[in-house]
């Protein structure tokens, strides 16, 4: 089966291809770099769903496709940066998040990382959503060289390691994106 992944983020393409290979699924993922519009909404489920519908209506691609939207939801900051995680990362980076969290201790540092995959089997079908999430804490400082984005400040629950301190395999096994993507792989294969 061949499916199209619409994204402008090469790190995500690599993660998804690694996972498809690791799961030994007979799926070919083709990457199309296309900057589709995203709405300003509080829930990434709704953002991904509306974007998938847009692609379906405007592009009417003849192959199954999916998009992915992820967000970091910091409990003590009312879910910030949430659906605007990519924008906020580009503007203030991990350093900005650490400043906002400087006076937060223990349980106050709790955070949820969440991915929504919106998959359309054909132009006639409504998007099917696969959600994955993972819990952790905002680390006290940037740690590790792996991953991308907020990975160096996301300390996975119980592991004491940030996602950036884990190997790709370790991270994908427990990450929000890994969990959502395996649901997609199981559904289509």
């Amino acid at each position: 089966m061949e499916i199209i992944f619409f994204t402008t983020n090469k790190n995500k393409v690599k993660e998804l291809k690694d996972m498809a290979a690791a799961e030994s699924k007979n799926i070919r993922i083709e990457h199309l770099e296309y900057d589709y519009p995203e709405l300003q909404l509080e829930e990434i489920e709704a953002v991904a769903k509306e974007s998938a519908k847009y692609i379906n209506e405007k592009i009417a691609i003849k192959k199954p496709f999916f998009i992915e939207d992820s967000g970091l939801f910091i409990h003590a900051l009312n879910g910030f940066p949430g659906p605007f995680s990519a924008y906020v990362f580009n503007k203030i980076g991990n350093e900005g998040i650490l400043k906002l969290m400087a006076d937060k201790k223990g349980e106050e540092r709790k955070v949820t990382f969440k991915t929504v995959v919106a998959f359309c089997e054909s132009v006639k079908t409504a998007p099917h959503l696969f959600v994955g999430s993972t819990e952790g804490k905002i680390a006290g400082e940037v740690r590790g060289e792996g991953g991308f984005g907020y990975d160096p400040i996301f300390e996975f629950e119980g592991a004491g390691k940030t996602f950036a301190e884990m190997s790709s395999e370790e991270k994908n096994a427990v990450s929000h994106r890994g969990r959502a993507f395996r649901k997609l792989l199981n559904y289509i294969s």
Copy 2:
């Protein structure tokens, strides 16, 4: 002339009605509380334009209408929070912005406040944009009781006062929203 202002922000309605009265224009502003969709885009001009087009297409209201989008662009934070100013304010507030700016001094505290009004004369016309902006610095602390949103941390250039320390008249005379809105009033009257 009667025009419709689509917004969910009552503070903005009050400001605009005050200004229309102050300018003695024969314009009746009707407020419709409608939470139209906004796209995630870097430029508020584009956000406002697309939202106005959406209202025009989906609602096809038979009267002239306008919407307004404003953003706080902090130079040292690469324009953050920009088009997501309302969301960021709801999540981290002025306190969050002050934390992000704690190590910034002098010129590093420069900020632009900007408003875009997108006005549609009829369902057949493309949105006409009116832009207003004003320059200032992020204050060292929250000051003043007036205004709303980021007003208590926006110190107007040269005045030494935050927008929240000014009277409505003082603020409207120099504010981003005042400047954009007067352009609209002059255009339609």
